[in-house]
């Protein structure tokens, strides 16, 4: 199969990029291993703060539907329920529909594969009942399954607070937040207030010393400073932060740079959201963990840069659109996370310096 552009990942970033390119007449193919479009937005029931100016305020799953709908009038090839499993020598992408593996040859590829949640280890963390906050959120909002009755949350980021509020809404008793740092990580004062009003304690300088249970988690020991607290719980939701998913970039031979604030190792890219492989662009959480509004803008920017690279729009038009979007990205990213914006800029500056690839091969 041949296509002008292949987008890997139909999350907000991939869909935003698809719109920019399809609306300029490019032949676009989208591949995603899930059968639904929208990526992680599908289980987000909270109203998403600070979307780009062209969007109305809405909830995550509504945003997924909106992004899907705005592509309806274009002739896009969807490979849903398909996985990218590798690459061929001639550069074609190996995709499987679980029956066969076939090759897709694309002039340009945008990788928007999102992020994975990091694990948090403590004794017996492998007991059933211990899961990431994202998994708990997926269970209640997508699968309509209550993952437990008595819960604690490890972490205190915005995402952890959202998960706690959504768990409470469906009747899970959230018994506390366990934060290893000396302060709450979330900067959303409104949400912190909401959590405090509900009377959920937030333990700082604390961690899970041990989980116990026969075949499932039944009880945990929380170490808080010099004190140890035992809680009966059947659900422990851990927030270890998120990191970009890198396997596709690795196979493509892209180089990486380390930026803690962006989630650790991130593919090296320039202001065009182009990796050191000229035909490979990236967008979304794969380009550094940020908020949904920012991820949409990175998708739009990647889309416009690809349009320019294949000659679908002139440089003048592209520059005008990009100027506007970069300003928007700066506003959205500095509002909540100025340190992420700074890290992103450092990361892009590093692109100009020679990067050593071999260092990553062991």
């Amino acid at each position: 199969m041949e296509t002008d552009i292949l987008i890997i990942g139909a999350g907000p970033a991939g869909l935003a990029a698809a719109f920019e390119m399809a609306s300029k007449g490019l032949d676009v193919t989208i591949v995603d291993e899930s059968i639904t479009m929208g990526g992680q937005l599908n289980q987000q029931t909270q109203v998403i703060p600070s979307l780009p100016s062209s969007f109305q305020s809405m909830r995550g799953f509504e945003l997924a539907a909106h992004l899907t709908k705005q592509l309806e009038e274009y002739d896009i090839r969807y490979l849903l329920g398909h996985r990218v499993i590798g690459f061929y020598k001639d550069g074609s992408v190996g995709i499987t529909d679980e029956q066969d593996v076939f090759a897709v040859k694309a002039k340009k590829i945008i990788v928007a594969t999102g992020a994975a949640e990091n694990a948090v280890a403590f004794p017996k963390w492998t007991l059933p009942g211990v899961m990431t906050i994202g998994a708990a959120q997926t269970m209640i909002n997508r699968d309509f399954v209550q993952p437990g009755k008595e819960a604690v949350i490890v972490g205190s980021s915005d995402f952890a607070l959202d998960a706690a509020l959504q768990l409470s809404e469906v009747g899970v008793h959230v018994k506390g937040f366990i934060e290893k740092n000396a302060g709450i990580l979330s900067r959303d004062l409104e949400k912190i207030e909401q959590v405090k009003k509900m009377g959920i304690p937030i333990y700082l300088d604390s961690f899970i010393k041990e989980a116990r249970g026969m075949g499932a988690v039944e009880e945990i020991e929380i170490e808080i400073g010099t004190r140890v607290l035992t809680e009966k719980v059947d659900l422990v939701c851990v927030d270890g932060g998120r990191s970009p998913i890198l396997d596709i970039f690795y196979q493509l031979g892209c180089s990486f740079g380390y930026q803690k604030e962006l989630g650790g190792w991130v593919p090296q890219y320039n202001h065009q959201f182009q990796t050191d492989r000229q035909d490979i662009f990236l967008a979304g959480n794969a380009a550094g963990i940020s908020t949904q509004g920012v991820l949409l803008v990175t998708g739009m920017l990647a889309g416009i840069n690809v349009c320019e690279a294949v000659g679908a729009i002139t440089k003048t038009i592209a520059d005008e659109e990009k100027d506007f979007l970069w300003k928007e990205l700066e506003i959205l990213e500095t509002k909540y996370n100025p340190n992420i914006w700074e890290a992103r800029n450092r990361h892009m500056e590093n692109f100009a310096h020679p990067v050593i690839k071999e260092q990553f091969l062991s």
Binding site: R83, V84, I85, G86, F87, Y88, S92, G94, T96, E98, Q99, D100, V101, F102, A103, A116, N118, A119, A121, F122, P123, W125, T126, E210, G240, S243, L246, D247, I248, Y250, Q251, F256, G257, Y258, K260, G264, W265, Q359, F360, L361, S362
Partner: protein, 109 residues
């Protein structure tokens, strides 16, 4: 951390086992993998690699930006051999190997 804590859940490799290979001179994820099987489970290190990176950081004082990523190989996620040995005609090294297999009276020659 308690030494019995599992670090690689797919292969059930504990903190203690990884600590041991680190004291014996391992410096990267792939060193640890080759010595313990950590990272060789169905998730192909997607779950354990960040935990192992923090162990390497703690035990050897190596800054994170100097701890290389684990090698990520094809196929990127588990796939049935039957699927990999696809009907598609355009390629695949496995396909070509399978092509050369000839059956005679139901037996591979």
């Amino acid at each position: 951390m308690d030494k019995s804590t599992i670090i690689c859940r797919c292969e059930e490799i504990s903190y203690e086992e990884i600590e041991e290979v680190l004291t014996n001179g391992a410096t990267t994820f792939d060193d640890i993998k080759r010595l313990t099987r950590c990272g060789m489970g169905p998730c192909q290190s997607k779950i354990c690699h960040s935990l192992v990176a923090s162990m390497i950081h703690e035990k050897t004082n190596t800054p994170y930006f100097q701890i290389p990523l684990p090698r990520m190989r094809m196929p990127l996620s588990p796939i049935k051999l039957e699927t990999l040995a696809t009907n598609s005609t355009s390629f695949s090294s496995v396909k070509s190997v399978m092509d050369e297999v000839e059956l005679e009276d139901g037996k591979v020659r």
